[in-house]
Amino acid sequence: MSDVLIEVKHLNFYYGSVKVLKDINLNVEKNNITALIGPSGCGKTTFLRCFNRMHDLYKGNRYEGEILLNGENLLKTQDLIALRSKVGMVFQKPTPFPMSIFDNVAYGLKLKGIKKKSEVEDIVERSLMQAALWDEVKDKLSSPATSLSGGQQQRLVIARALAVEPDIILFDEPTSALDPIATAKIEELLTHLKDITTILIVTHNMQQAARVSEYTAFMFQGELIEFDRTEKIFTNPREELTEKYITGRFG
């Protein structure tokens, strides 16, 4: 149960010369949901995007320290394409590709060079089921993905991420563009997903972190102030700053 999947050690991150993450240490446990909370601009998104080296898309960003995924420092790897197939990501706004529902889910497989039709079909079906979307789309797999509702699109994106069997999926405020009912569905999905993968989620919504996560990390101005089991953080945080944030006595 309590296997460590990812170890973050003394992570610093710089946008150009601005240090945005400061000496972050944290372990992500396998098959658990870890939530990142903190005030706007504290570096949650920045932190999340270190895990799949998304920052490498832009110039002038710099990492220091280590992020060990299964013991290997992913900040040092050259093969980003391989890394990113191990680390899935879901964004705030649903990002279905402009192709059919089926092709969306199959896209990661195509990139991996999996071409056998029956295999692809099996994986697509499995992933859509895991994302609790199969029943809603099984009769229209060839319709464009954009024909789905926002909440369905978000689940489609999750299915797409699941298809390549990532070790971990990163979620950056995955429900902040959705209405409450779609949000509830995604939250429920998340709590099931941890059986098959590991989840790291950034959320603006403290209550969401409370509802879905096992572990919660509270960040403030680029520092990791407190990291503990979610119950602990919400009933009896160790740090004054966390308490203040949690009880809404901030700013």
Binding site: N52, M54, L57, Y58, L80, I81, A82, L83, R84, S85, V87, G88, M89, F91, Q92, K93, T95, F97, P98, M99, Y107, G108, L111, K112, P144, T146, V157, R160, A161, V164
Partner: protein, 280 residues
């Protein structure tokens, strides 16, 4: 209460004036289209399309060579301009986004789209016509291509930028290399927009006159060799309208009519595509 009455009267007057301007705008359009329609229709007959120009006074002359020349020049211009424009626009919107050079290119291209086209004509004249010693279809095509490139480049850039950035990040996050992101996600998402944009750009450039005046010039014979001076509809209209003969004027009206119809069709088609995209 008096102030409210005053406000309501002001409101009424101002809105009436705005409506009046709209009527005036519409008036010009109707005015222009009806004149072309009336004068152009009377010039339309088969010989306009099938015959080459006849000397003044002899009936039955047509503009076959101009139609064909126009077509050849436009196609050649597209062959040069479309790939460069699309690839360049892609570079600006993708690999080169946020870099200063692309900003400069984009700004320059933007300005070039409103550039005096006659200057482009002059430019290509010095570049091609003078060294070769004669006017040619190639020169005309090059001039049109030079006008076309910034337009297509900008349309491409703008269309691609409409694709949300997160969509690309999502593809990267799955491990796709950039060229596949562009091919599978960006181009696919922007396909109709790109197509429409390019078609409208071509339609706009194809009916330019000024850049052809000193490049492909004119020719009253049918020629399929782009290395020769080549007639085009627009330059022909220019010369015939300037000329003193009623026959020429008639042909010019006919050609104008054809061009206007062509432009109308292209625009309608373009709008149809845009609507279809919006529906999706």
């Amino acid at each position: 209460m008096r102030i409210e009455k005053k406000r309501k009267i002001k409101n009424y007057i101002a809105l009436s004036l705005a409506t009046l301007t709209a009527i005036i705008g519409l008036f010009w359009l109707v005015f222009i289209l009806t004149s072309i329609l009336i004068k152009g229709l009377s010039a339309i007959n088969l010989s306009l399309f099938l015959n080459d120009p006849a000397p003044p006074g002899i009936p039955g002359g047509g503009l076959r060579c101009a139609f064909i020349g126009q077509l050849i020049i436009t196609i050649l211009a597209c062959i040069i301009g479309v790939p460069i424009g699309v690839l360049g626009g892609t570079f600006l919107a993708e690999y080169g986004r946020n870099n200063k050079l692309s900003g400069l290119v984009s700004a320059l291209a933007d300005m070039m789209t409103s550039f005096p086209s006659i200057v482009v004509g002059v430019f290509v004249y010095t570049l091609v016509v003078r060294p070769m010693g004669h006017f040619s279809g190639y020169a005309g095509a090059l001039a049109l291509a030079i006008i076309m490139i910034p337009i297509i480049l900008r349309t491409t850039e703008e269309t691609l930028k409409l694709i949300p950035w997160e969509l690309r990040e999502a593809a990267f996050a799955l491990g796709a290399p950039y060229y596949l992101v562009i091919k599978d996600v960006v181009y696919r998402g922007a396909a109709t927009g790109l197509f429409t944009g390019i078609m409208l750009s071509i339609a706009r450039v194809a009916v330019e006159t000024a850049p052809l005046l000193f490049t492909s010039f004119n020719n009253s014979f049918l020629t399929l060799n782009p290395n020769q001076p080549m007639p085009s509809l627009t330059v022909t209209i220019y010369q015939y309208a300037m000329g003193p003969y009623p026959d020429w004027h008639r042909l010019a009206w006919g050609a104008s009519f054809v061009i206007v119809i062509f432009v109308l069709l292209f625009n309608i088609a373009g709008r149809f595509f845009i609507k279809k995209r919006l529906k999706k």
